[in-house]
């Protein structure tokens, strides 16, 4: 189901956690709310869920105003960062809970509950754990049970608060892929909160970048990476070299292939893979030296030092495929020529 948030504001004392948030999430998307800690992303998720109430604004789920609905009446499924499984119930009873608490009229028969719970446990590939207690499970297993529990009530919208935040790095990688596939199969509109840009880019079909209680940008992962709306988004998503420009910089920029005519602001962001380097002739007046490099699997990250005519030396990072770097035959301390293929300008 689609979600529409209009003009959501929330203050904690004098601190504005959310400031006039307008957001539309079409049906079936898997959306990441991405931002640094304290940006209001979890508060926004809890407001959509009804666990928190907004000071102003409306929450519409599939076109219906649910602002004044209780959390139990919203038709949402919520997955908590620390799982929040009922510790005194077995895995089976945890998943069955949402069905058992339905009013007598809506409650399915015991046989149907049984079948549905086992189906869900099979879906999360943990049916063999049905009679265990939560404290006998690993973190990844608990999170999958929490997801099965949330899905049991057939929610219109699935909300996940930092779902992989408390897990080991390797488990996290697996679960991300798994969640993406699961969403592909179920196609239930889902929103998850994360502070990890890599996770957002990898899992989500839409990314909403939040900062200081405002939406900085909304779009597909590639959209946000290739066309960041502002300096914050560019800095937050992926790695980038940041140059604060003054008048002396026009020279080296021109040498690097960015002419002044393109200059649209005072700050230039350059992705490491948009920088090309070449060994320069021994007696050239190149101003960039190679300091060091690191292997990042298929890529090499090269650390360069730019020494300006005046001003302090600055580090610049470039990335390129392994074999390309080998072909350059570079050693530490070599002077290199630097070319910038693409840059983002900000004021």
């Amino acid at each position: 189901m689609s979600i529409l948030l209009s003009n959501i504001s929330k203050n904690f004392g004098t601190f504005a956690a959310l400031d006039q948030i307008n957001l539309e999430i079409p049906e079936g998307e898997l959306v990441a709310l991405l931002g640094p800690s304290g940006c209001g992303k979890t508060t926004l998720l809890r407001i959509i869920a009804g666990l928190e109430s907004a000071d102003r604004g409306r929450v519409l789920i599939s076109g219906q105003d649910r602002t004044d609905h209780d959390v139990s009446q919203r038709g949402i499924g919520f997955v908590f960062q620390h799982y929040a499984l009922f510790r005194h119930m077995t895995v089976f009873e945890n998943v069955a809970f949402g069905l058992r608490v339905k009013s007598r009229r809506e409650r399915p028969s015991e046989a149907i509950i049984r079948k549905k719970v086992h189906d869900l446990l099979s879906l999360v590939q943990l049916d063999w754990l049905h009679d265990r207690y939560p404290d006998q499970l690993s973190g990844g297993q608990r999170q999958r049970i929490a997801l099965a529990r949330a899905l049991a009530v057939e929610p219109a919208v699935l909300l996940l608060d930092e779902p992989f935040g408390a897990l080991d790095a390797s488990v996290r990688k697996d679960l991300r892929q798994w969640l993406r596939n699961l969403h592909h199969d179920l196609n239930v509109t889902s929103i998850f909160v994360t502070h990890d840009q890599e996770e957002a880019m990898e899992v989500a079909s839409q990314v909403v970048v939040l900062n200081h209680g405002r939406i900085e940008q909304q779009g597909s992962p590639s959209d946000i990476y290739d066309h960041p709306a502002n300096a914050f988004v560019s800095r937050f998503i992926g790695q980038t070299n940041i140059f604060d420009l003054d008048e002396q910089d026009s020279d080296w920029l021109q040498t690097a292939g960015l002419s002044n005519t393109h200059q649209k602001g005072k700050i230039v962001h350059v992705r490491p893979h948009d920088i090309v380097i070449e060994k320069s002739s021994a007696n050239s007046d190149a101003f960039v030296t190679l300091k060091d490099w690191q292997h990042l699997g298929a890529l090499i990250r090269v650390e360069l030092v730019k020494t300006g005519a005046n001003g302090p030396a600055a580090s610049v990072y470039a990335e390129m495929p392994n074999d390309q770097f080998k072909r350059l035959h570079l050693n530490k301390g070599d002077k290199v020529d630097l070319r910038i293929r693409h840059a983002h300008w900000f004021h």
Partner: protein
Amino acid sequence: MSTVTQPINPAKLVARQQLALQDADWLRWSLIAIAVSFISLFICLPLGLVIVKALSKGVEAYWEALSQPDTLAAIKLTLLTAAVTVPLNTVFGVAAAWAITRFEFKGKSLLTTLIDLPFSVSPVISGLIFVLLFGAEGWFGDWLIAHDVKIIFAASGIILATVFITFPFVARQLIPLMQEMGSQEEEAALSLGASGWKTFCAVTLPNIKWALLYGVLLCNARAMGEFGAVSVVSGHIRGLTNTLPLHVEVNYNEYNIVGAFAGASILAGLAVVTLVLKTALEWQQAKR
């Protein structure tokens, strides 16, 4: 006055001991000897003496002292007081703990402090407060007399004073536990469509039940044993407003040694039962 602490789990204490921290044998043994002799001297000996004194004139005299109408009335009043006080303070305690750990509101820290008030004032003062409020010369005295309601020198006054004194026990047990647990399980239950009451019964209560029982037990022990506050409001009317502790004192003052110690043995018996139950609860908790 007493303070409430978290239940001690002996197994955990031992497990934490490390070789490097172990003391010399002579130190260990002398510390153990000091502890054991202290407990024997100040706890076991007096407790044993209660039984010895109660039976000093034979079992028959003991039974006779216990079957006196005044003694039976005192036991009855004590049980009645506990029967009214404990359920009331269980409900109050859960409600207070819920309010403090689940909601943000103005005056929350004041409320938390006020819950401890009965622990921090002398029980005699607690009794006096009720005399000042409901006594013949008190604020509501005239009104109560006009409407023929007796609170001071009556069972209702004893119950009121006991409720006041034992108020903190349940709340103090629950607050740290509920704070530590957080409210995510309850939020999860609500998000799954459970009502507030259902959430409390199916999620909150099972999680706090051991601490709750422990608090109830302590509350009960104090309700039966309270002396100071009850003494002020009771008036010591034999067969009417004497609780068991008061009954013991009256008998003792009249040099009725067997009567006094027979009553005391009942109270001591209640204490032992409480301790056994408490240990059983702690054992249960540790097992989980």
